[in-house]
Amino acid sequence: MNKDLEHQFVTELENNQNIVHKVCTLYTNNRDAHNDLFQEITIQLWKAYPKFRGDSKFSTWRYRVALNTAITLYRKSKRSLRTQDYESVIFKIKANEYDASEEAQLKLMYKAVKELGDIDKALVFLYLEDKNYREISDTLGISEVNARVKMNRIKTKLRTILNP
């Protein structure tokens, strides 16, 4: 295998690993599963990489590969069945930067998002990443109108989770 390509890929992923970590935090519940999923996404990204050498669109495809792996390809290992809450570690909210009510609200929001289904999480993820509805619909393979409808439903769902 081409050494330059390896180096280029690893460097690029090292610099952009946050996107992958964010997907992992959404779709897993403990650190073992997080690392497991990160590894699988890395393998899938690497497999897809030679096709996009020098292609600036790789950043867009990174979202697709990561979400596809998390939603469809990833087999939850036995280890991930152990639900050890580590959200508090990942989504550590700094008290000095927020007032108390905002902090409480954020905590509730993160918890609510994690309770959503796989597809809903993907939509929320892309929304939080500031992707427009065209990109969201392209990534999920649904129409733009349906992406909007779905997002509105998720907002309602989140609202009911937050205010039962």
């Binding site: 939603i71 390809l73 550590k92 597809i119 929304y127 393979g141 989140l158």
Partner: protein
């Protein structure tokens, strides 16, 4: 929604509390084995392929079976045997071709929905192949019974005795029932096995795919 905008702001701002992997750690991951469901499906398909090919090839290696076969059916039925063997080899080849092209078509850079569709399509090809094998097995079983009653001397003699006894009707009912139960049992076992293997593997995918499909209605 205010809360979601608040979340978005927080989501895009904080970075330092996410794990940070080193170059070496990521590099090592490139050489790890994937454990994706596609890979599992691929291995299972290979086992299925090997199983059915071996099962249909067994009589060729088993001299006794071949001898009994010739004795039972006589030479007239050799054509039936050759035709079914040739046909099954052709169908296996076609199946292998479609299976591998559909595996190749599974791409992680497709949209979520398209990826799911290509996985389900691949799965469907395997299912057709299994259905084909089951149907062939049933045809061969029925044909064997038919040949027994028309060619096998012992069975014909037995049939004659039964006829003399006057319990012909009951004889047909009982043997028919045995054949049906036998076939039902075989199909049931295989069906259960597939439900179990693919059910476990594709449960989540099916659920998510249905959700995406539901959006379009």
């Amino acid at each position: 929604m205010d809360e979601l905008e608040l979340l978005k702001k927080d989501w895009q701002r904080k970075r330092e509390d996410l794990p940070k992997l080193s170059y070496d750690e990521i590099y090592r991951m490139l050489w790890k084995k994937s454990s994706s469901i596609v890979k599992w499906m691929f291995y299972i398909s290979l086992i299925e392929l090997a199983f059915w090919i071996l099962l249909s090839a067994l009589p060729f290696f088993w001299k006794n079976i071949q001898k009994t076969f010739n004795e039972t059916y006589g030479n007239g039925d050799e054509i039936f045997f050759i035709v079914t063997t040739g046909l099954s080899i052709l169908i296996v080849l076609i199946f292998i071709y479609y299976l591998f092209t559909s595996y190749k078509a599974i791409s992680t850079v497709d949209s979520v929905k398209k990826l799911m569709e290509s996985i389900l399509r691949t799965r469907r090809i395997v299912r057709y192949y299994v259905a084909y094998n089951l149907i062939m097995a049933i045809i061969i079983t029925l044909h064997t019974f038919y040949s027994l009653f028309t060619h096998d001397e012992k069975t014909i003699k037995l049939l004659d005795t039964v006829k003399d006894n006057g319990s012909e009707m009951r004889f047909w009912l009982v043997s028919g029932l045995i054949v049906l139960v036998g076939i039902g049992f075989m199909v049931g076992i295989i069906w259960l096995f597939y439900r179990l293997v693919y059910g476990i593997l594709l449960k989540r995918l099916n659920k998510n795919y249905k959700e995406l499909k539901r959006l379009e209605v």
